[in-house]
Amino acid sequence: MLRAAILAGADSVYCGLRDETNARNFPGLNFSEAELIEAVDWARTRGAKVLVAINTFARAGVLEPWRRSVDAAVAARAHAIIAADLGVLAYARSAHPNVRLHLSVQAAAGSPEAAAFYVQTYGVKRVVLPRVLSLQEITAFNAANSVETEAFVFGGLCVMAEARCALSSYAAGRSPNLSGVCSPPEAVTFERTSEGLTPRLAGYALDRLGSDEPAGYPTLCKGRFQVAGEASYLFEDPTSLNAMGLLQALRTAGVTAVKIEGRQRGKAYVARVAGAFRAAIDALDRGEDLAKYQNLLSDLAEGGRETAGAYRKAWR
């Protein structure tokens, strides 16, 4: 996966160790410490960077796995560590003063003041921007700080402020902050009746789909609910984020890097998305119009639907 992304033109790839210290703790994903060393070495030969996500919040009384992940990332000569927990950031700063730190989106640093705090206190070099900010707010963010910023452009759309959401643990006991998972697979079931397909999370019906409706992974906030007897996708439609059309605007807003979500995806998917964004950014560099790139990836969107999310203010 990492190799597929780099061969397709990604400048950097995020990865995590195979445990609860990263927010993509799904079975079958992630790296052992030995694999990490190998991956970093391979990426270096290709001129690419490996960034290690240690972005869950350490469990009280059990800080050791998080410290160990930081040490392992440093030992593997990863290019940066991406973290959110104050304890993890403090450990990285004191145990490895020269390690490059990126602030994870899980830190939910949504204002210039929040970013400045992390930059000044922990020497953070890059902030991954929350997906709830509009372009206007990103522009203000970058005008106020000189720290690099990175924005999500493709993949899942978290509609709640990242890491300020406990909906999943409320229903099913596990959540992104503490377990690195949202709407965990072990709590998901599908029930087929004559009325249709009902995806459930820990027993709660998240939707009811007719035979002609596509069934994506049932993430809680993309479910259909009732308010005063009216059914709707109250939080967010089952869409995914595609900000391909906003690349120029993000660049103008001062964003340094764009991030594509690749979790639980196949190599072909990763290669195609990374390749498309590489081509679009290169075209942008040459001063070309991006019109022909706009719809390159539309068929990959969840339920066939995509959105530019909060980047356009009307989303709110």
Binding site: A58, A60, G61, E113, V132, M160, Y170, Q226, L234
Partner: protein
């Protein structure tokens, strides 16, 4: 001898009419022996100008009744106006409650603050970091079980520990207003429709099962969290204060119940029965305290 367990009142999360707000806090001032009251708009910066004068009047009543008033900051400051009001509050040297870490950037060095439950403080290392910046009290994130609090207490014994003891659980925050969305509006033109639901707008599954409650940009639990385990468990975890979150139920009665519980005059089962009959908007839950899904009732 163990110190008296404090009862505190958390910030009002809902968009109540100003006259209701004033009357509510007047009663709290006059009829309860709540020790400390957190005031301030935490959820939506758009509500701040509407509520400001009412909260100022409430602060006056509460202080004259001998209660400590602590101002709470917005949980998700984003607009220039949100940021300006957060910076103003942060710069004030009095004790305040931080609900977003941006506050620390503008806090005068050494000025004390409470870390609110909407911050992501999940372990003793993070708590120690905040203490080094002036944090004197942590109101624990609602996801934390009692055993996590014990670890935080062991790592930071000087830190006062408050827990979210009563109310619908604050579960999520967004840039998008779901009250507005449910009414076919956008946040920028929301018409303040969140004022129609005193305890949040009920959200059910398609099968009619009660699930969540929406309060503007915030999502809350449908269930009403109640933390009243055996007092010895709270003491062992280092808990020094119990926070009650304002609801339209009889908060004076609820506050008195908690005072009696904290003083050892009521057993947990009696507290449950009292709270259940006080007009609460959902069934009792307490799963998080016991390391289970938040919606559970662990008994």
């Amino acid at each position: 001898m163990t110190a008296r367990l404090e009862i505190t009142l958390g910030p009002l999360l809902f968009n109540w009419a100003p006259e209701r707000v004033v009357a509510f806090y007047e009663r709290i001032a006059r009829e309860t022996d709540i020790d400390r009251v957190y005031l301030g708009e935490v959820v939506c910066g758009k509500r701040e100008p509407l509520l400001g004068p009412a909260l100022a009047e409430a602060a006056d009543h509460l202080q004259r009744a001998g209660k400590t008033v602590v101002w709470s900051s917005l949980a998700l400051p984003a607009t220039p106006r949100d940021r300006a009001s957060t910076r103003r509050l942060a710069a004030y040297p009095d004790l305040m409650e931080a609900n977003d870490l941006s506050v620390l950037q503008d806090r005068p060095p050494g000025a004390a603050f409470v870390a609110g439950p909407l911050l992501n403080v999940y372990n003793e290392a993070a708590a120690a970091e905040l203490m080094s910046r002036g944090c004197t009290r942590l109101c624990a994130n609602v996801e934390l079980p009692l055993r996590a609090l014990s670890h935080i207490h062991a790592g930071c014994p000087e830190l006062e520990l408050e827990i979210f003891a009563f109310g619908r659980l604050p579960l999520a925050l967004s840039g998008r207003c779901y009250h507005a969305r449910a009414h076919g509006l956008h946040r920028d033109n929301c018409q303040f429709v969140c004022d129609r639901d005193l305890d949040g707008m009920d959200v059910q599954t398609l099968e009619g099962q009660p699930f969540l409650a929406v309060n503007g940009v915030q999502t809350l639990s449908h269930g009403v969290h109640l933390a009243c385990p055996d007092i010895a468990l709270l003491q062992a975890a280092g808990v020094t204060a119990l926070r009650l979150s304002p609801h339209s139920a009889d908060m004076v009665r609820i506050a008195r119940t908690f005072r009696a519980y904290a003083d050892g005059e009521l057993e947990p089962a009696q507290v449950e029965a009292e709270i259940e009959s006080a007009g609460i908007p959902g069934p009792l839950i307490n799963g998080y305290l016991h390391g289970r899904p938040g919606r559970d009732w662990a008994g």
